[in-house]
């Protein structure tokens, strides 16, 4: 069952969406919205292909993924170090195999490398989940045309400016401008 609910903002603002067929009109629309007094943090762009901030003239998006990856690598490294340097001394007595070192050098490099990489890649993967709030099955603002190649620009504005902005967006090539609805994805 599709759960469509009209978006009512507590601030009294309305949430609108404008769907554009292409990048160019969407970028122009963002400039126009700014000129009409809508700040960047009140806009969001949804697209079916990765569109860079530079293409749309939007501020850079913050991401924690590289930092989390680095953190995971450090954790992995220490995990590997524990396995190599700590574990042999967890025995009642270190097991000496012939003349081999209790903590062998080259195998230590191998284990440290593998577990460091595992830590880094796992945390990169989890980083996407954390930063994107995945999995997220709550109703969200969305239009299915996005996966058909359209660009949707969501923005908040005062009810008084709604008509003016709608006209401006339509003039810039918006295929539709309407109140954004939250949808159960």
């Amino acid at each position: 069952m599709t759960d469509n609910i009209s978006r009512i903002e507590p601030s009294g603002q309305v949430s609108l969406l404008a769907v554009f067929p292409d990048l160019g009109p969407a970028a122009d629309a963002i400039d126009k919205l700014r000129a009409l007094g809508i700040s960047d943090d009140q806009m969001n762009v949804i697209s079916g292909v990765p569109v860079t901030e530079a293409m749309l003239g939007r501020p850079s998006q913050w991401t924690n993924v590289p930092r989390l990856a680095g953190g995971g690598a450090v954790l992995g490294f220490f995990g590997g170090a524990f396995l190599m340097y700590g574990v042999p001394y967890l025995y009642p007595y270190p097991i000496q195999v012939s003349s081999q070192a209790v903590i062998p050098g080259p195998p230590t490099v191998v284990i440290l490398f593998e577990i460091t990489m595992l830590g880094m890649l796992l945390s990169t993967f989890l980083g996407v989940f954390l930063d994107s709030y995945f999995p997220n099955y709550r109703p969200m603002e969305y239009v299915k045309e996005v996966s058909e190649g359209k660009i949707a620009v969501f923005f908040k504005c005062s009810p008084e400016s709604k008509e003016k902005i709608t006209k401006a967006m339509t003039a810039l090539g918006a295929e539709k401008v309407e109140v954004a609805e939250v949808e159960q994805l």
Partner: protein, 482 residues
């Protein structure tokens, strides 16, 4: 009259230009864009349109998996490893041949998806996922083969480092422990790397399906909408994965090679085994990729639009280069062993070429070197799917023979002639067929559930490509969008 001639000439030139553009469009997927909605529809249709032939093949494979893999494995567990052909001196038989073979197959996915992504090779776009799936499913077969080799598979957890009542931790001096860590790291990494770029396509499938498929895609798409933030996180993660998974890929097969090279056996104790194994893995892996692509193109609806002659041509070029690299490493290894003068190594080399399994040695060289070199220099042949499929199949046979020569054939000869004995596989053959059937079964099942074509990547590529005129020539131009 002169005006008329000029007009005719202009018309001919115009027609010629149109023809050239049309030719380029037919040849290159990136220059032949369709609306995104149409491409989505084609990919969804390819997943949901299933002929009776598919189910017949699927049924036969299910029976083979049940019979050859699970029943025979159960029989082997109940009877013990005595039902295999393993015996002194060949304690490593077909199971480890299969392990090395499947890990090799798994290398192509990462190679295509990560290395070609790092180098921004545009031809990769439509088939990265098809190759990544091979990595994950190939590693599953490698894991099965190792577990079979263990015999008492229920004790496999002894390899996992954890504090236990016996106060015995795995011996990290052993390459087999490194194997566990490397293969686990690679399996997890490649599965995550398969999943991340899949999320936008799962969201596309969610938007276009109903019933159980809708629920399935909704769960897997995780609520992806395509916001700027989501794309940024995804793009960053994919870049990190593309760079980081390459050394992991190299480490996996290098460590597999150390299982052999770290032993002081004639024929195995070679410093060049690491890169030799990695190149061999890529050789068989690329061969397997073209086989899969040819089958997908030939059997799945709408795939002829996405997978074209240009893709076979590009992969076949890589196959040719990798074949040359493999020949170089093979000869390098052979030369040093031959020149070394060790009596037992000479015996082994002679046994490889002139022993009862000598036909394998020659077949290996013909399939891995002679045939690719003889065929893949020709662009027309490189662009013909069935020819490249045949070469890929022969390369895989050749690489399987190479692993067979390295494992049981080389183990037949050692420094104690009284133990020399040929290895004859028994239940291992059925179990090997079972893993092959399971690989194909998993791939067929995935082709019904997962969009094999990364539509968003194809669209992104098509946005970046255009035809540009340099003087009188129309050429393909690519913009860097990332």
């Amino acid at each position: 009259m002169a005006e008329y001639t000029d007009a005719v000439h202009a018309n001919v030139v115009h027609e010629h230009k149109d023809h050239a553009k049309e030719h380029l469009r037919e040849k290159h997927l990136m220059l032949d864009p369709l609306p995104r909605g149409k491409m989505n529809e084609m990919v969804m249709e390819s997943m949901t349109t299933t002929s009776w032939k598919f189910w017949v093949v699927f049924g036969i494979l299910s029976a083979i998996v049940a019979g050859c893999l699970f029943y025979v494995w159960g029989y082997m567990i109940s009877e013990g490893l005595g039902v295999t052909g393993k015996n002194r001196p060949s304690y490593w038989g077909l199971f480890l041949v299969n392990t090395v073979f499947w890990i090799g197959i798994s290398h192509a996915g990462t190679f295509i998806s990560a290395i070609l992504r790092v180098f921004k090779a545009e031809f990769r776009r439509p088939f990265t996922r098809a190759a990544e799936l091979m990595t994950t499913f190939g590693l599953v077969q490698a894991g099965f083969s190792v577990f079979m080799h263990l015999g008492r598979v229920w004790l496999a957890y002894w390899l996992i480092p954890y504090p236990n009542q016996r106060m015995l931790w795995p011996n990290t001096h052993s390459p087999l422990t490194w194997d566990l860590l490397a293969i686990t790291t690679y399996l997890l990494s490649s599965t995550m790397y398969l999943f991340l770029p899949l999320i936008p396509d799962l969201a596309m499938a969610r938007d276009r399906s109903t019933g159980w498929r809708k629920t399935f895609y909704k769960i897997l798409a995780l609520g992806f909408r395509g916001t700027e933030g989501e794309w940024t996180h995804l793009r960053n993660a994919m870049t990190i994965f593309a760079f980081a998974i390459i050394p992991v890929m190299f480490s996996v097969h290098t460590i597999v090679s150390w299982d052999f090279a770290a032993a002081t056996r004639p024929g195995w104790n070679s410093t060049i085994f690491g890169p030799y194994f990695v190149v061999g893995a890529l050789h068989s892996g690329m061969g397997a990729v073209v086989m899969v692509l040819a089958i997908v193109r030939g059997t799945m609806k709408n795939m002829k639009y996405f997978i074209r002659g240009e893709h076979f041509d590009a992969i076949a070029k890589l196959m040719l280069i990798i074949s040359m690299a493999w020949a170089y490493f093979f000869f390098n290894d052979y030369m040093v062993q031959w020149y070394g003068g060790d009596k037992w190594t000479h015996q082994l080399l002679h046994f490889h070429e002139a022993g009862p399994m000598g036909w394998m040695w020659f077949a290996m060289l013909i399939f891995n070197i002679a045939i690719p070199w003889a065929v893949l220099w020709n662009q027309k042949w490189r662009s013909t799917p069935w020819i490249v499929f045949a070469v890929g199949l022969l390369i895989n046979v050749g690489m399987y023979l190479e692993r067979y020569i390295i494992v049981p054939v080389s183990l037949s000869i050692n420094r104690m002639p009284f133990t020399w004995r040929l290895y004859y596989p028994r239940v291992e053959i059925l179990l090997g067929i079972g893993t092959l059937a399971l690989f194909i079964w998993l791939y067929m099942a995935a082709s019904r559930l997962i969009p094999l074509i990364p539509v968003w990547e194809v669209e992104e590529g098509q946005m970046a490509h255009e035809l540009k005129k340099f003087g009188r020539e129309t050429v393909v131009s690519v913009s860097e969008l990332e």
